[in-house]
Homo-oligomer: 372 residues x 2
């Protein structure tokens, strides 16, 4: 690992593990969940509130920040740590997934991705070298290699396409590795390979041979069965160095997190808690609460009596219901704080359970709650 | 005054005065500015943040809350103090102005107002008795009598219409006074009379004869010259009891506030600071800052170096510019906190200046800044 970085496994329980990821801007106790701050801000939530909720590291979207305000602006203001109010560790994605899923007419070739910006319709390019350059300007503690994430499908040539994408991802990984120059920024490689274990294993072994600072599972959460996903994660882990962090990108629900932690994943990000919050769907110790539902109109109870977040400490379900229905910004903000606190408490519980050797119990409880 | 209420003038400087308005839910040092919480929440701002910004009393819109979530719901949850997170003093408007300006096809007769709800298009009524009933359910510390606010205009019969509205407002004031039963809620009467001093004076004297707990100037801020407005305010004050609070409704800009304070007004509310904030217009010690302007794209300075609000303490103009342009909710929230803090600091400065007998200097400085 680079100067200023270290990753030390501190406890394990089966394949699940606790570790301490040290970065130049602070320590991340893993397993950890990264709130998503697409444009450098978690929707409606302040940095102080993120700290209070227990966030340790935050994810920003490279592609969005490249478009607005531009990575040069962020660099000029001191990178993400200087530009935003979050002074702790940052991770940026490579921008590839966002471009391929959001941009119009994305065309991928060996050089990179060509696409029309959704912002102004103009042609843009994203290459492995550019993805690294942008991320170096953004200055996150952890940057991600550019990968090709093939769309899932059942076409006759789906296997071939997944194989080609995995091979291209490996060639791009090498280019990213060569292009990356910041010594104060870790670089993670991404395992691809669709939903075939053999291809995932091959991709993981070849990515590991490039000696990245950490490794991510890409191209998952696109409709595959949960059990299948965990098999693919485990297959890749068998080929990845145990002493490097493992990150499952973009996933997911609480039950998905505990299953992946059980398979040895260290890092997560997902828009689900904040997106659900904006739609009035709250995670609670008793399961999901759809707060826009009319039955909460005059319910004086807090969203979750077992929660210590600012929404539950001060406000009733009736008030949150009202704010959400009236589209008052405070509603989405309080619901987001609640859901983030739920996720961050879940991860803290997972770390404690692993340290105490009782993780299976927590996993089963969370999965049982989800199955209700 | 009622039990639990008192109003004591503590200092004066010309017509400007400081007073202590005691309510069952706390003390308001006047002159005071009331942030507007239309639906029981200041857009995007938490009650804790309002306290930190120096808010002492908050205004909610009766008509909006009557529509959503309904005053029965608010009453069931303990009134505004129990329903929302703001435990300090509340004031509610009568709903009349909102109905007459927002609702479709509002028709006014002696009984009250008939209108089509913008929410569901259904016919609704608002009478003086109903305005009081709704406000008693909402349970604010201060309720307002229903008034008729005639649209400004230059028609030949404008004077007659203003006179008729002022007379009807007096008849409605009597009905409100009779309908009002809560002993723990103050009731303020409203002076009308358009832009004629004689009519304003007549309306003030007759309203005062009904012995309300406080008095408001209604129907101003509708396009009249600032100096004219102050003349009208002074004319009414000459007829109002000195030992009762005076409230200038819905106004206004910092220069309007200091002019009105100079004429002896004690209470203000206005959506300007929060509405401006959502549009990226910030009040500063150097004048207005239009933060969406491209020149702030990479400006590392805080919005106002002389401000102690959370936005100025932690964030740059560049970051606020970015959040506002990207429509990130945190941008409107931080800008609102800043503008509210500006207004609340301005009022605190006014109180200090009055106590020290130097209010004219503050007034001139604020008016000079606005004239730049």
């Amino acid at each position: 690992m680079r100067a200023g970085f270290s990753f030390q496994v501190t406890a394990s329980n089966g394949s699940a593990r606790c570790a301490r990821l040290t970065t130049p801007h602070g320590v991340v106790e893993t397993p950890a969940f990264m709130p998503v701050a697409t444009y450098g801000a978690v929707r409606g939530v302040s940095p102080e509130e993120l700290v209070a909720a227990g966030a340790q590291i935050v994810l920003a979207n490279t592609y969005h920040l490249h478009e607005r305000p531009g990575d040069e602006v962020v660099a000029k203001l001191g990178g993400l740590h200087g530009f935003t109010g979050w002074r702790g560790p940052w991770l940026t994605d490579s921008g590839g997934y966002q471009v391929m899923s959001l941009a119009d007419r994305a065309r991928i070739d060996e050089e990179g991705v060509t696409f029309a910006s959704p912002l102004d319709g103009r042609r843009r390019h994203l290459t492995p070298e550019l993805a690294i350059q942008i991320q170096e300007r953004l200055g996150a503690d952890v940057a991600m290699a550019l990968d090709e994430c093939p769309a899932p499908g059942a076409a006759a040539d789906q296997g071939l396409r997944e194989q080609a994408a995995a091979e291209r991802t490996l060639r791009w990984a090498e280019r990213c590795r060569r292009a990356h120059t910041r010594v104060d920024q870790a670089l993670f490689g991404i395992v691809q390979g669709g939903i075939r274990e053999s291809l995932r294993r091959h991709s993981a072994a070849r990515t590991a041979s490039l000696a990245f600072d950490g490794y991510a599972h890409g191209g998952l959460g696109l409709g595959e069965e949960s059990d299948r996903r965990i098999d693919l994660v485990r297959a890749a882990h068998a080929e990845l160095p145990a002493q490097a962090p493992r990150y499952l990108m973009g996933i997911g629900r609480p039950q998905d997190l505990v299953a992946a932690i059980d398979a040895g994943v260290d890092l997560f990000d997902c828009v689900l808690p904040t997106r659900h919050a904006r739609h009035g769907v709250l995670y609670t110790s008793q399961g999901l609460l759809r707060l826009r539902n009319a039955r909460f109109r005059d319910d004086p109870a807090p969203a979750d009596p077992d929660c210590d977040c600012p929404a539950c400490a001060l406000h009733s379900r009736a008030y949150l219901h009202h704010l959400l229905r009236a589209n008052e910004a405070l509603g989405a903000r309080l619901a987001s704080l609640h859901n983030l606190r739920f996720y961050l408490r879940l991860l803290a519980s997972a770390r404690r359970a692993i340290a105490e050797g009782v993780f299976a119990g927590l996993r089963d409880r969370i999965q049982g709650l989800a199955a209700q």
